[in-house]
Amino acid sequence: MWSFIHKLGSPPWFFRFGGNLVRWLLPVTLILLLVGAFWGLLVAPPDFRQGNSYRIIYIHVPAAVVALAGYYVMALAGAISLIWRIKMADIAMKAAAPVGAVLTGIALVTGAIWGKPTWGTWWVWDARITSMLILFFLYLGVVALFEAYENKAAAAKACAVLSLVGTVNIPIIYKSVDWWYSLHQPASIKFTGESAIDASMMYPLLLMIVAFYGLFAVTVVMNMRAELIWHHRQSSWVRQWAGFE
């Protein structure tokens, strides 16, 4: 276990491990996404109140769930970077930020499109939606901050602090539908107690959530590999990979 964690910090080892991971996880993720989308769009029954517009749930909820979980991953990498100064944690943080931003963007855009036929408006300044918008800006802030510094160590430090401070927002997003009177519906799937969603709709939703987790893992590892190559372009293992030496 410890030797595995130790190896994760080794750039050439991680580059190879990540390449193998992407090779099998990428096709699995794509198949899950296709099956889940087909199931949700064409097989599952319509909602008895919202009709067919609810089918947006199969991308909206997975994108939002993984955007929130991904923020914890990014903040954890930030904490590791601050405490132990591990370069790999900086690279993981930098790789996770754009993926999280895109997922949050998907949740916001699909939510707006879903809101139009359901609530009669594209946008409301509601607690859930506003806190999600803040999450979007936090992700974009980390992306921009990495680019703003010449000094890589200083950039990683600033990004780590920003992402750690931003974690305050995550429980607010989770609890926003309970704390404030909101247009947004509360969670349908519960770990404890009965879920407020029928099995015929829940299975494709769970499948899509798993698929989006896979998508997050694959794209973050792909970003990390591209970053590692650049970071270590003077090293012999990169030169070997590129085909000389």
Partner: protein, 84 residues
């Protein structure tokens, strides 16, 4: 299968526009998410190869031997072809 025809699946009782628009935007963003790092890795590999050719060419010049023809250009074109 819930829908009886392709037209019914497109229309979704009037909600089709919203549902298909949401899926189309999501698909295009996800395609970009997968494509961007794959392209970045490819571009950086080509840059490394080109940089290595430049280094070799300048070393050859410095050692005094006049190259019979432009090795750098040769190397660059052949390496571009081999890596697709």
């Amino acid at each position: 299968m819930y829908f009886e025809s392709i037209a019914a699946a497109m229309d979704m009782n009037g909600h089709g526009v919203y549902v298909w628009l949401a899926y189309a935007i999501t698909v295009s963003l996800l395609v970009w998410l997968f494509w961007a790092p794959a392209r970045q890795l490819r571009v950086r590999r080509l840059w490394l190869i080109a940089e290595e050719q430049r280094r070799l060419a300048s070393e050859a010049l410095r050692s005094g031997a006049t190259p019979p023809h432009d090795h750098a250009a040769d190397g660059r074109s052949s390496s571009m072809e081999s890596s697709g």
